[in-house]
């Protein structure tokens, strides 16, 4: 369990990333195997964390 916030992001940013990740999951929830979801999440994190 990682309790400490990573140095490169702040709490506000983490909340935003979490919201985007959960939204991406929700958009593909109707799919049994959500194709491309790992790519979607990878891209979200790449966009948010430089």
């Amino acid at each position: 369990m990682t309790d400490d916030l990573p140095d490169s992001v702040d709490k506000k940013q983490i909340n935003r990333i979490m919201e985007r990740v959960l939204k991406a999951e929700k958009d593909k929830l109707h799919m049994g195997s959500p194709k491309g979801i790992n790519n979607d999440i990878e891209q979200i994190i790449e966009e948010e964390v430089d």
Partner: protein, 667 residues
């Protein structure tokens, strides 16, 4: 979601076009469909599964079209099988339709071969326009998620499996699916995978290469410093030796017996220096000549071949031409030949003169050919000049070298003569001079060796610095991947904590609701409970504080299972209608479609379940056999049920089929 009307055509045993209008009124939200065993209740349930998910839970799932329709069709004709549903979801009217078309292959073919299929989802927008959803398959799964189908469309006779010892997984799955936990669970799993991807990038780009390179660079720089110190010391020694040599030669110039020879030596050496300069100049000039015209000998074979070809054309009279194109054009313009004959348009004479144009030479072409011939001659002359120039320069250089050798010999003679002079000082001075000269040559060689080594090291240093720059870039990629992996891992752990907390909260909410519904139906002092392990259990009080598991009858298990599903549907509705919105769970309003919900219930439970049915969901569809339609059920549904249908089963012919018949009765 609100079901409005179902239309079925030639689907499985439903022959022709059949329809059901569902009860929608708040006070009459139950639709009852009667059907004996085998009449088509489960098939009716499957119309929804087929329409929404192209899925059937029936035997022979590939037989879609009705046998009677295929029997009546002629060979090669087509029979459509179709299910259409009108419904409302989130305030919008939809019409979904799945159709498959089957072709009859032979007189006895009662299955047909599928030749066409289509799925459409039409909706009415805010302006009342009918529009089609682009991706109906996904849209339907979003409206009624496939993973929730066992909750909304269920078989009452097998629903009691939820309370079985191995039913925890189904209970947990149902809770996760309908209460939004699935999103969190998937996010945890996918973030874990993404963290792994970033870690792979770290492994790929992160290495000890950079520190190794930096260490190498330090070693090389240190070696270069050391070599530069060595060079400086050698240069200093050479300067001092040169100074001593100068002093020695000055002394030889001062002494009476050696002055003349020393002066002669100085003069010869000046001449020698001049010759060295001349040889350097000759070498530079030779290089320059070769650089400018060195290509000519290589080009000459092609030049000679071109010249030969042009000579050949000239010999044949192809160039220059006897007649010029412009001359012919001028004659045609003035319409008169040089012989005086008129060259009017259309005349034979004009035609003949016109043909000269084909044979006439172009002035430009001839000029170009003449230019080329001129240039080719020039190239040949330049090659001859090149050979002459180089020969001359080589001869001059050879003469200079001969002269240099002679001067060197003269210098050696002077040195020898001076060494042989009996006067002690002069002989020693000359020997010392020779030693110093030799030392200077050795020092110069050593300096040259050290400088070459410095240059080699500097080249290596430059390459290492480029490698360091590349490694730094890769190191930055690895560091970036490390930051991203940490973020993914942190998020995964945060969502995992959220999942556990929310799952526990959801389990408690479902537990309370299940027990509340269960106790409102069951007459004994029993409790329904969702355990920490997600087992759906029935308990009873033992003393004031303890409870123990009771041996469950099939009827009690069915009530507990029904209570569980009704609780989930109710909680999803509450969440949808509440202001509390989360990204991962927005809830929803769903109907319940139950096949034989009264199967194992005694009359008392039948009555109580019937009382509770309208409260279980916004809309309830009940499929029952006549035997399940007891007085107890009928009595309770009298005031609260809406539409009622009967599945009329026919087996009097060689095929079986079913019609959906409104009973004309509403309760």
């Amino acid at each position: 979601m609100e079901l409005k009307r179902l239309e079925v055509e030639n689907f499985r045993q439903f022959y022709g076009t059949q329809e059901i209008s569902f009860s929608l009124e708040e006070s009459n939200n139950v639709t009852v469909v009667h059907g004996d065993n085998g009449a088509g209740k489960t098939t009716l349930l499957n119309t929804f599964l087929w329409l929404f998910y192209n899925e059937l839970t029936l035997p022979q799932p590939d037989k879609i079209a009705t046998e009677r329709a295929l029997d009546e069709a002629s060979v090669n004709s087509r029979v459509p099988a179709r299910v259409k549903l009108e419904f409302k979801d989130q305030g919008r009217q939809y019409t979904a339709e799945r159709k498959q078309v089957f072709q009859k292959r032979s007189q006895t073919d009662l299955s047909g071969v599928q030749v066409d299929e289509d799925l459409t989802l039409e909706y009415i927008d805010e302006r009342g326009n009918h529009k089609q959803r682009n991706n109906p398959k996904s849209a339907l799964k979003r409206i009624l998620p496939q993973r929730l189908r066992e909750i909304f469309f269920f078989d009452g006779e097998t629903i009691s499996e939820l309370t079985a010892d191995d039913g925890q997984e189904k209970v947990q799955s149902a809770i996760r699916n309908i209460m939004g936990l699935e999103i969190l669970e998937r996010a945890i799993r996918h973030l874990d995978a993404v963290e792994g991807r970033f870690e792979d990038t770290m492994d790929e780009y992160g290495s000890n290469e950079l520190s190794d390179l930096v260490s190498k660079k330090q070693d090389i720089k240190s070696k270069i410093d050391s070599l530069e110190n060595e060079r400086e010391n050698l240069q200093q020694s050479r300067t001092e030796t040169e100074r001593e040599l100068t002093q020695t030669e000055e002394r030889l110039s001062e002494l009476e017996d050696s002055r003349e020879l020393q002066e002669e030596r100085d003069r010869l050496r000046t001449n020698l220096d001049n010759i060295d300069t001349d040889i350097e100049n000759i070498d530079d000039e030779t290089g320059s000549v070769i650089s400018d015209s060195g290509h000519l000998p290589f080009a000459m074979p092609a030049v000679e071949e071109t010249a030969r070809m042009l000579q050949e054309k000239r010999r044949k009279g192809e160039i220059p031409s006897e007649i010029k194109t412009q001359f012919v054009e001028d004659l045609l313009d003035i319409e008169e030949c040089i012989c005086g004959r008129p060259l009017h348009h259309g005349s034979g004479a004009r035609e003949e003169v016109s043909q000269w144009r084909e044979r006439a030479g172009s002035t430009e072409l001839e000029e170009a050919a003449m230019n080329i011939v001129g240039r080719l001659s020039e190239i040949g002359e330049r090659q001859t000049d090149l050979y002459d120039d180089i020969d001359e320069l080589l001869a001059e250089r050879s003469a200079k070298r001969d002269r240099k050798q002679k001067l060197q010999e003269q210098l050696d003679e002077i040195s020898e003569t001076l060494s042989e002079i009996e006067t002690e000082d002069i002989g020693k001075l000359e020997e010392r001079r020779q030693d110093l000269k030799s030392d200077i040559e050795e020092l110069s060689k050593s300096i040259g060796g050290v400088e070459r080594e410095i240059n080699d090291r500097e080249e290596t240093l430059s390459e290492i610095e480029e490698d360091i720059s590349d490694a730094r870039e890769e190191n930055e990629v690895a560091n970036q991947a490390r930051r991203r992996a940490r973020t993914a891992g942190y998020l995964r752990d945060q969502i995992d904590a959220l999942f556990k907390k929310y799952q526990d909260k959801v389990r408690k909410s479902v537990n309370d609701k299940v027990n509340q519904t269960f106790q409102s139906i069951i007459e004994k002092e029993y409790y329904a409970q969702i355990s920490d392990e997600y087992a759906l259990r029935i308990l009873k009080d033992v003393g004031d504080t303890e409870q123990e598991l009771v041996a469950k009858s099939t009827g009690e298990r069915q009530v507990a299972s029904l209570s569980f599903i009704a609780s989930l549907v109710s909680l999803a509705k509450n969440q949808y209608e509440s202001d509390q919105d989360t990204t991962y769970f927005t809830g929803g309003i769903y109907p319940m479609l139950m096949d034989s919900p009264f199967g194992y219930l005694d009359p008392t439970y039948q009555r109580r379940v019937s009382q509770k049915l309208p409260e279980m969901a916004e809309q309830v569809v009940v499929l029952v056999t006549e035997s399940q339609w007891s007085d107890a059920v009928a009595g309770e549904l009298a005031d609260i049920a809406g539409q009622r249908y009967k599945l009329q089963y026919h087996d009097e012919q060689k095929y079986e089929y079913t019609e959906i018949v409104p009973t004309g009765e509403t309760y």
